[in-house]
């Protein structure tokens, strides 16, 4: 599962995208909803967890936390940006 990163999330992760394993080779649970994805990301990158408004888009639609996700979806993390 590839996640595209925008704004400060790109700076936090240090790359424009992020791969998440889709099969549990490590025994860790695989995110199956947006909520689980958020929790997965917060564990891997605690700085992401601090963002009070972080929109997650699934296939170019704003996704609610209980929306299901799978490996075919295109996922993007979109935080607000403030520069002008």
């Amino acid at each position: 599962m590839t996640i595209l990163l925008f704004g400060v999330t790109k700076d936090i992760v240090g790359s424009p995208s992020l791969s998440i394993p889709t099969a549990s080779v490590t025994g860790r649970s695989i995110p199956k909803t947006v909520r689980e994805l958020r929790s997965f990301l917060n564990k891997s990158y605690p700085e992401l967890g601090k963002l009070s408004s972080l929109a997650i888009a699934v296939n170019n639609s704003y996704a609610q936390d209980d929306e299901q996700i799978n490996s075919y979806d295109e996922i993007a993390l979109i935080p607000p940006v403030s520069g002008g």
């Binding site: 009070s52 704003y62 002008g84």
Partner: protein, 356 residues
């Protein structure tokens, strides 16, 4: 009276014509912020024939603005952005009615200023202002055109357009200053505000004239490095369409304003160590009353008196209300970019109220 020839390229444009041109002439657009985003918005809307343009800013032109704020020249450094912009827009199109607001948009003045206009353009550089604009527009039922930047990226959308979603439907809570770097610590590629600002101007024209499809319910995310554009759709969260009054506090994180120190912090600091305080008021004002230990270099003689200032030490600029000292800041920092300079905000007036 519009001279027919001036807008001939638009009035002869199939799908635009005299009818849409007249709508532009009748419209009132407020541009909040005269920085990287606000300047292209202002230049193009003024060129295209928007009848009334409101301009809100209280900042001064600084050298490091010139890398992306293309309306400003080297000679404008130290001048009020509002003055320079209104003068240049006037020269560009003398038919536009310009309404100047020599202030930042805050919770205290937003409703009063916003209510006069049909469309608001958010060209600010900080979250506090963006949430104030959102809330004021929701209260007053005005559409606003959002644009914002981060490094090589930008975002554009039209919020609160008719029944469409708002900024809070996408980003419900205002980020704290700690969680997101502001523009002073993070860079911006100079061309980015030009790209995002021109897209904002186009959306403004579409709202006014009804041509095309307004970018409502869609966030355009632009990545300049890859020249990629994506549109993320989002919907109304009903509670965000119901705002009846502004919050009592939106925080404060103006990026482009000078490093200023509050009168209170300044006084506290002064008790602990001897500060280099430069009072930029006139000799008469200084002689009448001044802070013990402060040195008088009037604003007018500042540029030619640099040798009187010790730039190895921090410099604290002081005046009566904080305005001249802010302007003096812009001048000093342009001439001595490595110097550490503060402007005491609110000046002696504020100090009097802090320290009775």
């Amino acid at each position: 009276m519009i001279k027919p020839d001036r807008f001939v390229r638009q009035t002869s444009l199939s799908g635009f014509g005299l009818e849409k041109q007249a709508k532009l002439a009748d419209s009132k657009v407020l541009i909040v912020g005269l920085g990287g985003l606000g300047l292209p918005v202002g230049q193009y809307l003024n060129a295209m024939g928007v009848g009334t343009l409101g301009l809100v800013d209280q900042d001064f032109v600084e050298l490091h603005n010139l890398q992306r704020q293309v309306l400003y020249s080297e000679d404008d450094i130290g001048k009020l952005k509002l003055e320079v912009t209104s003068q240049k827009l006037k020269a560009q199109n003398s038919q536009t009615l310009l309404k100047c607001f020599d202030t930042y948009l805050t919770k205290d003045n937003a409703l009063e200023i916003v209510k006069e206009f049909d469309v608001i353009v958010d060209a600010t550089d900080n979250f506090a202002a963006r949430y104030v604009i959102n809330d004021a527009c929701v209260i007053l039922n005005k559409p606003f055109v959002y644009g914002a930047l981060h490094a090589f990226e930008g975002q554009v959308s039209v919020f609160n357009y008719e029944d469409g979603p708002t900024y809070r439907c996408l980003f419900p809570k205002m980020p704290s200053p700690e969680e997101t770097p502001n523009c002073a610590t993070n860079g911006i590629l100079g061309i980015l505000p030009g790209i995002i600002g021109t897209l904002q101007a186009l959306e403004t024209v579409k709202i006014i004239t009804g041509v095309g499809e307004v970018l409502s319910g869609k966030l355009l995310v632009y990545d300049g490095l890859l020249q990629n554009t994506r549109k993320v759709s989002f919907t109304v969260v009903p509670e965000n369409k119901v705002i009846t009054k502004l919050q009592t506090d939106y925080g404060f994180d103006l990026c482009e304003s000078s490093p200023s120190i509050s009168a209170k912090d300044f006084l506290a600091l002064q008790q602990r160590k001897k500060l280099q305080v430069i009072d930029v008021r006139s000799i008469e004002e200084f002689n009448k009353d001044h802070l013990s230990g402060s040195v008088n270099i009037t604003f007018e003689e500042l540029k030619s008196s640099l040798q009187k200032i010790n730039f190895d030490k921090d410099v604290y600029l002081l005046c009566q209300s904080g305005k001249r000292s802010e302007r003096a800041y812009a001048i000093l920092i342009s001439l001595k970019p490595e110097a550490i300079v503060y402007s005491v905000s609110g000046g002696l007036n504020q100090m009097a109220s802090v320290c009775p």
